[in-house]
Amino acid sequence: MSKNLSPDVSECLELLETMHVIRYAEEQLGEDFAAGKLPGGVHLSVGQEAVAAGICAHLTDRDQVSSNHRGHGHFLAKGGEPRHLIAEIYGKQEGCCRGMGGSLHVADYSKGIIGANGVVGAGIPVATGAALANLMDDDGSMTVVFFGDGASNQGVLQESMNFAALWKLPLLYVCENNQFGQFSPTATVTAGVISDRAKAFGIPVEVVDGNDVRAVWQTMARATDHIRSGNGPMFVEADTYRIRNHFEREHLIVQTPYRSQEEVEKMRRERDPIKMLQEWLKAEDLADNETLQAIDEQAKTLVKEAVAFGDAGTPPPLDVGLKYQFAGTYN
């Protein structure tokens, strides 16, 4: 074990800032949606920021992250620029994908962010191929794939785990079990414990409190150690909770509630990963209110700047679809 088992104070403060940035960015997008400002829809990960932050803290630009429809947090935690995210979701050509992809497809390949994905589960095969590239590159790089409890029921998970186990792919599966797939409580559509599915392939499993960013960080320290040493894949099931709606249009659709407002409020109150880290830092006397406030402000400012950047952006030229569809080049 070459890594420290716990994040030190400065690492904790970085995690805090990352979570703040994700939270502010997404709350902004939620407001934007409500105000009719967004061209498309958004799936927000409010409440789940600790998973993205804790996992991506251990990755560099040479590592890949493959994500899903709830991918803003992964994008930001992996080093994607907030302004490129916001501009993208605003449909501006200054966005990370020049306004072509939007929320469901945010990507920055230069930073190893190989794409959110609108097809549930489809990021898993893509990640498997990226991990194969890592293996062939043989440079210690690795791939992380984020997916939900719902996506775990797509067969490609089993297929991919078989590949990864056989070929010892440097691939980390991170299942963000947020208790729901759209409007279906996980237990109603998912048999057994998801991470047990990995065990049949001989893939080591860790189950972690996905709202405790330090725990996620620690798990990831062990996972990167395992994976980067050539031992093949690992599987992390992060227990978490989606505090906001499945997507921002939900209230227009769902007539019979699939969860109680009390449950949501309780999670918001007691299990907010940002609050949890702040309180721990204070309890341990590792940071005072002022420090925490400063980080909060810094994040807020960053997001404000990103929004201004997005607002100032321009719509892409009309014919770019045809232009970007194909490279049109040969090697």
Partner: protein
Amino acid sequence: MARLRLIKAINEAIREEMERDEKVFVLGEDVEASIFGDLRGLFEIFGKGRVRNTPISENTLTGMTVGAAACGYRPVLHIMFANFLFTGMDGIANQMAKARLMSGGQIELPITIIASYGGGRANAAQHSDTPYSAFMNLGGVHLVVPSNPADAKGLLKSAIRCNDPVLYFEPAGRGGEMGDVPDEEYLTPIGKAAVVREGGDLTLISMGTTMRMTLQAADRLAEQGLECEVVDVRTLAPLDEDTICAAAARTGRVVIVDESRERASAASQIAAVIAERSFEQLKAPIKRVTALNAGLPLAPASEQYLLPSVDKVMAAATEISKNVRVSE
């Protein structure tokens, strides 16, 4: 006649057919909550046994319908976005399209799959395809594409009663559109196109999402003195070649409007049929107004650029009308 939203017409069709035949059941992801509203209330009426909320597993879902149908049931699978048909493609292309043929006709496969299709709403490339054209070539599935509430109901009832697999393409984002729907029970036949407007100068042929712009274009062309006959194809497989070719032959000038991408599209198929069967009556090149050959971007104007529009229909119509006048 009641005025109903399209979504409600769909809802009524399923409810009526479930009441009529207890072998009909609905399955799919979040069919309890009904993300598009088309299934709203069915769970409350028919319960867990007949409205089956499923895991996210399209490959198994499409294949399951084949097993359930071969054993006497009439599954109605709601797949949400038509792009997810591709996610469950084997069950469609290799199983349901072929199982009856391969069995020498031993079984019937009364399967309905409902899929919402189409762009123009900044849903980005994976939630905006108009993929029915690719399914037309499979040979073993029927395809229907309603454009209004009356057909939405009548075609869906026919689809559910049909003893062969039917893919039912619901025009995305048009659920709120109102239309007259007969009060008494009726079926819209599978395989029959409808002439929805008469006019002797030009024939416009369309289906589903692009019918509205086609009719708008017809109105505007009429203002310019060009009277259009308009055909709503309604069923893409089997294709009602007789109605289509007769309409094409009556004017000799044809514009086909289709939200598919251009290549190997429904529009191309219709053009090919006309070029073969109504050649002698043609007076001008057959024009197709389709999506261009690319995925759809998020950015709304860039997305719109790739899609058919009233202006593009007008331009195509005007072009072949000019063309004819010059040569006459």
